[in-house]
Symmetry: C2
Subunit: 961 residues, 2 copies
Amino acid sequence: MASKQMVYFFGDGKADGNAGMKEILGGKGANLAEMNRIGVPVPAGFTISTEVCKLFEKTDVQAPKWLVSEVYTNLKLVEKAMGAVFGDAKNPLLVSVRSGARDSMPGMMDTILNLGLNDQTVEALAARTGNARFAWDSYRRFVSMYGDVVMGMPEDHKTHRDPFEVLIEAKKEQRKVKFDNELTAADLKDLVKQFKAAIRKATGKAFPDDPRAQLWGAIKAVFDSWHNRRAYEYRKMNSIPHEWGTAVNVQSMVYGNMGDNSGTGVAFTRDPATGERVFFGEYLINAQGEDVVAGVRTPLPISQLDKDMPKVYAQLTAIYQKLEKHYRDMQDLEFTVQEGKLWMLQTRNGKRTGFAAINIAVDMVREGLINPREALLRLKADQLNQILQPIFDLKDKKKAVAEGRLLAKGLNAGPGAACGRIAFTPERAMELAQKDKVVLTRVETSPEDIAGMQAAVGILTARGGATSHAALVARQMGKVCVAGCGALDIDYVAGTMKVKGFTLKEGDWLSIDGTTGEVIAGAVATSDSEVIQALLPNPKLSKPEQKKLMAAASKGRVYQNYLQIMSWADQYRRLKVRTNADQPDQAQSAVAFGAEGIGLCRTEHMFFGEGSNNEKISAVREMILSGSVAGRKAALKKLLPMQRKDFEGIFLAMGERPVTIRTLDPPLHEFLPNDEASQKEIGERMGLSVEQVKAKVNALHESNPMLGHRGCRLGITYPEITEMQARAIFEAAATVAAKGVKVHPEVMIPLVGHKSELVDQAGRVRAIAEEIVGKAKVKFPYLIGTMIEVPRAALTAGEIAMVAEFFSFGTNDLTQMGMGISRDDAGVFLKDYAERGVLEYNPFETLDTVGIGRLMQIACDDGRAARPGIKLGICGEHGGDPASIEFCNQLGLNYVSCSPFRVPIARLAAAIAELKQNPPAKKAPAKKAVAKKAPAKSVAKKVAPKTTKPVANKVPVKKAK
Amino acid sequence: MASKQMVYFFGDGKADGNAGMKEILGGKGANLAEMNRIGVPVPAGFTISTEVCKLFEKTDVQAPKWLVSEVYTNLKLVEKAMGAVFGDAKNPLLVSVRSGARDSMPGMMDTILNLGLNDQTVEALAARTGNARFAWDSYRRFVSMYGDVVMGMPEDHKTHRDPFEVLIEAKKEQRKVKFDNELTAADLKDLVKQFKAAIRKATGKAFPDDPRAQLWGAIKAVFDSWHNRRAYEYRKMNSIPHEWGTAVNVQSMVYGNMGDNSGTGVAFTRDPATGERVFFGEYLINAQGEDVVAGVRTPLPISQLDKDMPKVYAQLTAIYQKLEKHYRDMQDLEFTVQEGKLWMLQTRNGKRTGFAAINIAVDMVREGLINPREALLRLKADQLNQILQPIFDLKDKKKAVAEGRLLAKGLNAGPGAACGRIAFTPERAMELAQKDKVVLTRVETSPEDIAGMQAAVGILTARGGATSHAALVARQMGKVCVAGCGALDIDYVAGTMKVKGFTLKEGDWLSIDGTTGEVIAGAVATSDSEVIQALLPNPKLSKPEQKKLMAAASKGRVYQNYLQIMSWADQYRRLKVRTNADQPDQAQSAVAFGAEGIGLCRTEHMFFGEGSNNEKISAVREMILSGSVAGRKAALKKLLPMQRKDFEGIFLAMGERPVTIRTLDPPLHEFLPNDEASQKEIGERMGLSVEQVKAKVNALHESNPMLGHRGCRLGITYPEITEMQARAIFEAAATVAAKGVKVHPEVMIPLVGHKSELVDQAGRVRAIAEEIVGKAKVKFPYLIGTMIEVPRAALTAGEIAMVAEFFSFGTNDLTQMGMGISRDDAGVFLKDYAERGVLEYNPFETLDTVGIGRLMQIACDDGRAARPGIKLGICGEHGGDPASIEFCNQLGLNYVSCSPFRVPIARLAAAIAELKQNPPAKKAPAKKAVAKKAPAKSVAKKVAPKTTKPVANKVPVKKAK
């Protein structure tokens, strides 16, 4: 006997569990219990706790006695509630066995339906329903499912298809019918016989006739499916801990396939692709739920149900509205109508696209269903990405249509524009994706395709509706998807797709528009999304055209909702958001995205300008190649006015916002040409032989350039470089300040590991700054600080903060050095690590909060102790990653800095992080916050007081096994 | 007025200060005070505190009023004690102004003698002494010294010599005399005139006639000389903090050049080169101290004084014995005899060679003067190096002598054998030393030569005695030195040295024997030192010859004293000392040196065996080049018996001592050949084209191999490698255990950064270990642990210690990653850093206790918390560095591991560290500890209880400015 309850009954308007018990009942189980409690009709059943999942980690485990006993006790309750008896020869109770994890993992784990059928009970079912065909159809479904899931039937070795499907096809051919439902009871009875024989032949085991044996086989198999490959991959992709485990739900069967007064469907309380407030879904008459989700038959839109079964539709409408109101979120429902009676099989918060998530969040606040804080917490910051992604260029699409390249139209299951090479299998999709973008093109997708779907930019299916596997997963991944495009004739064996007279092969280019459902042969150019159109002037257009386009886009619903979300985010976030930008146009874009400053301006990127800027790189090369201080100074003198001009542009673009400029960072060899032609050219320019240039290039070669002569080490060896850059920065700042712009330059010294390095470099910069500011007509403030990117800098931050006025975490290098992993070389073994489960995330995408994060915590603590109020920021690429931003918020940094296009994501992520970590007091003026133009700063201050001392390790930690 | 006393009087048997006040009085000042207190005759004077030094950091500082007033008050006391008046025209007091830092920095700072002389007082001096020549000689010395030191006279631009020396030479030529003392009073008077004129011409300033102006000029210049280049370099080399500052001693002059009843000398209470208990020193009749130290005139041995001035010699003998007894250490004395009266000018603990240090320490314990703990604390562990260094091979030296290559014999000023290329200037010495060993060959050395002396392996001078600058500095640096070899005719301009008919040029090979004073043309082969001869069998000899040689060497005094020191060290140290060894012969040597285990056996070094072992590297290459697991396994199968044999040898050599074996560490490309011939060969052997081999070599190329695919990352990608190595280790251990040896294998996984990596690798090793130990006839214990060399490993040591049974700090890589400095590439900028004072030590030689040390502290604390009693060690090269060992002792590590030849040094360093950090209680049985074969362990435990929680930052921290 387990020491606590492990099996939870629900049914008859009562339940042991409730919606708050997802941890142990899983999402499905908790919601089945909850639905019972609020009076929604749900077939009775019971949930076996997630805590039992661990028991079944090894495949050959027998259920312990206490579990057997608890299960049978609850089975009795179910029998009573449903008025049927499990395994009874006259009135048999049939059940489904389904997984149900804390977070929904649709289609990733296994399910068994119609369990309890055998050669006796099938006759009883036939007798009680007066429908032998239905009974045998249920039985053949059960046997095939059980064969696949529990008994591990291998695929048909000729066709690589499900072995039972192959038998059905053969039977249909033999009987010369087209559809499954044209097969008779006798046909199905024969199929059951064939199925069992096939199982015995392939597995060496007999199909179990004892319902209790069936039940335990199914329970074990479903628990076991938590550990299968695709579930594992899915958890990795979605950061779901492997140790959570799944619950198992054993629930009475109800049948949507008992004739034309039966049916089954899946529905969303709002459109999961667009977020529109419409009851959205699909159903099939005389079918089981499997048929809808699997996309085998293309179902009818839910609105049709009103005509087919008006009473049921009215009841369903009342229920969906009740459920949405109860759960205060968009619901994803499964229902079955058995001979005119409506049963709800599942409700859960519905997965949705980024578009839908944003629109639903804003709508629900407007409807008064949730408050802005809840709206923000419903979002994942990365979802904003979708509304920033390019859409198809209208002109180019028109041209394609005019050329007759519009092949077909399917369901617009995942909004956006995707253009890539066709791959017909997930394996090929992954291969092709190494080089090009890929559109995974399938008859229908199944959970096995998940990795291929991830690798593709777009997913196209010939079968399946808006709630099919393809649509569901694509929405969740934020992939462009066109589903159920029936016109496509896909032949896997031939490797072709025929449509409208075209024959497309693997590797051919294809464009799919997930917003309209259009499928177009060849590539179609893309253009900016609505949000981008509204925010950024299109450089290809004339000024008036730009204005017109921006005005038009600004009226769009997506843009308006974007603005609303950003406005709420700005109200609640504590972190400032800056951008990494090296050119004035980047800076301008970033400002349009809401950047509050530049966190990293890499001066070296300026050296590689185009066109006339070629002079820059030449001057840089001269500087490097000259062997003397005088020669370097001469070259730097040429560079000075060019750098100054660059900085003027940046300061002008950023206005009053602070601008952090990093002095020269990369090793000098990166600026020298490696090809002989360029070496010759620069040699001639400088009066050097190719050999001399080569010799210099070779002399600069390093064993480990990452750990070599770069960053402030260059500035210490060649102080004249730092001094030139300081001069360019402060002269530019003085010029722009004279124009009335309140500039705030911040000079950042890279790769400092010792205080002494910063003393040297900061001293040189300050001397020049003082000289220039001293002479300037308009004075301006400035800061000198350092990157914290060498582990030693973090470890001695207390010393360094005596000199540095700010720290900016360079987490790219801090990760490289702190983990001892060269990003350039890590591909080889990080792949192996991921495959072997040694390291389950890429530390260059998401910050390692445990190790590297500890360095950051030390630096923050010691830096603040040495210089109270020291400005702290991050400018590594993690600054744009929501999970990493959450950690930064916890550390109490002042700002994050990321690429311009990630600024909105960072703003939202910062708000979500703050709301999670420091939930505002209940009395916060929620209503007021709805107002679009609320005074962001003051409210934010009221509701989210600054944390002075962050608490370590609150953020869910990325795990290594 | 300063808030506390800044000027301290001494004289007349009284003193304000004492020997304990070195911090503020400097060593010289404190000892002058102390000598006064114990009744030794010392000319009166006063010391200006080191705290005043800071005032003179800037060159144009005026002395503050309070200082002027304090100095004049004390000057009055001196006048009273000496019965003379400063600047008085009839009875003038003359003074010397000398530096005096806390630690002696001989010759590094400036000195002014005879201060107070001018055109009036010189006449008074002449009148009072009745010796005009003496008076004018003093005056010309004063003017030249003052001109050089205070007024900054440039060197003569033609001869690059001292401008005043040039004038003297000219005068001697004019007067047709050979020696300085043949010049008359009139000659000297004329020289004074010439000197003053030269000063005015070169500096534009007049020589000051006012004694008070002279005094302040001198005080400022001497304080200022703390900041000069050579003093700075010296401090860096000797780890003396720049902020200590020097004191200034103003002391009454006494004169050794008042005629033949006067003289001056320098003496040591024991021989500073050999440590022999003889009164050792030199003097000059009718000379000033300068003449002895500068090596300009070759002085007489001190024993001669007994004949010249028997009364004075008796008095001196009594004084030196008193002083040695008082200070309980070998003293370095300066004295002057003025007209038959003995004055002591200085006493201090004498610098000595490593030989002398060891011998004196042991002798003084035997004499009952000090106890063994004090003896150990007197030593620097690195001094042991000297007695381990090779000496000249007797046969080869005999041969050189037979060939007539013995050029001359000088003073044996620094024992040992040095063979290198001749360099005549310090600059050239530093240049040549980049490629070859160098013997710096000079007429005489001066403080300007210090960096060149450091760069050379040996120092040879034509002039100067055993207490000359060359001898003094060489002793202190532990350099081989032959001094005062008068037969050499060195011509800097011609760049030649003529001797005995030979003419040697710069770059020619020369051998000098610092033990015998012999100078030999060409290279002479070296052989083992006495200690090495006694400890290690010479592989070139037959077994009986080996035995004979070892027995003979064992009787030597140096070896006996080595044994004594090691015995004491083993009594007091807490740290175990292991060795890094990859081959059985290395292991055997290490055991002879006292290694208590192997801390690091690098399996990859075994792959590059010689002779028949070529098969090993071939098998390794096959493994790397094969593209499949099967191919790799086949190659590893060939490798297994070879590795097993290697390990058997190691286990046999180490016996019961623990042996830590590291699994494969370096990136695979290091094993592949880069030249086409070898590529072709291995290709042919494996049936691959050169192109295929090249392609593989290229594929393995990495941007930053240091941070690439190596260490445990290899073992995770290719688990079969780890498994082969584990099998080889444990099969070897089982075989050796079966022979009755109690083996203790410890398997160490390299480059772990995540616990999961160790889980993977340790799991594989443990599985194989269990299998083999399970089947073995004789069971044996083993450990599996990891290196801590990736910063993240230190930062997550708590997690890692859940799996690791021991940690071994790989401080080479920990330093590279923690500082972000590639050791291979650091040469370029660490040179600049050193020159600019940004980083004053090489972090790859001496551990950065502040930054990298903090990582180690974190790892120790968290590792112990997670696994109490976890075994902790260090196997980076810092494990053999005394300063780093001190830190390791403080961390409470269990052991350090270093190269075999550094094992004795590490043993001594460990004892010194423990005695410094945890001084034993006074009641410890000191007498007992003298016994040679004291039960080391039990005593050590009694006197040095284990510290469980080390205190951070007690070790003097290496500084970056």
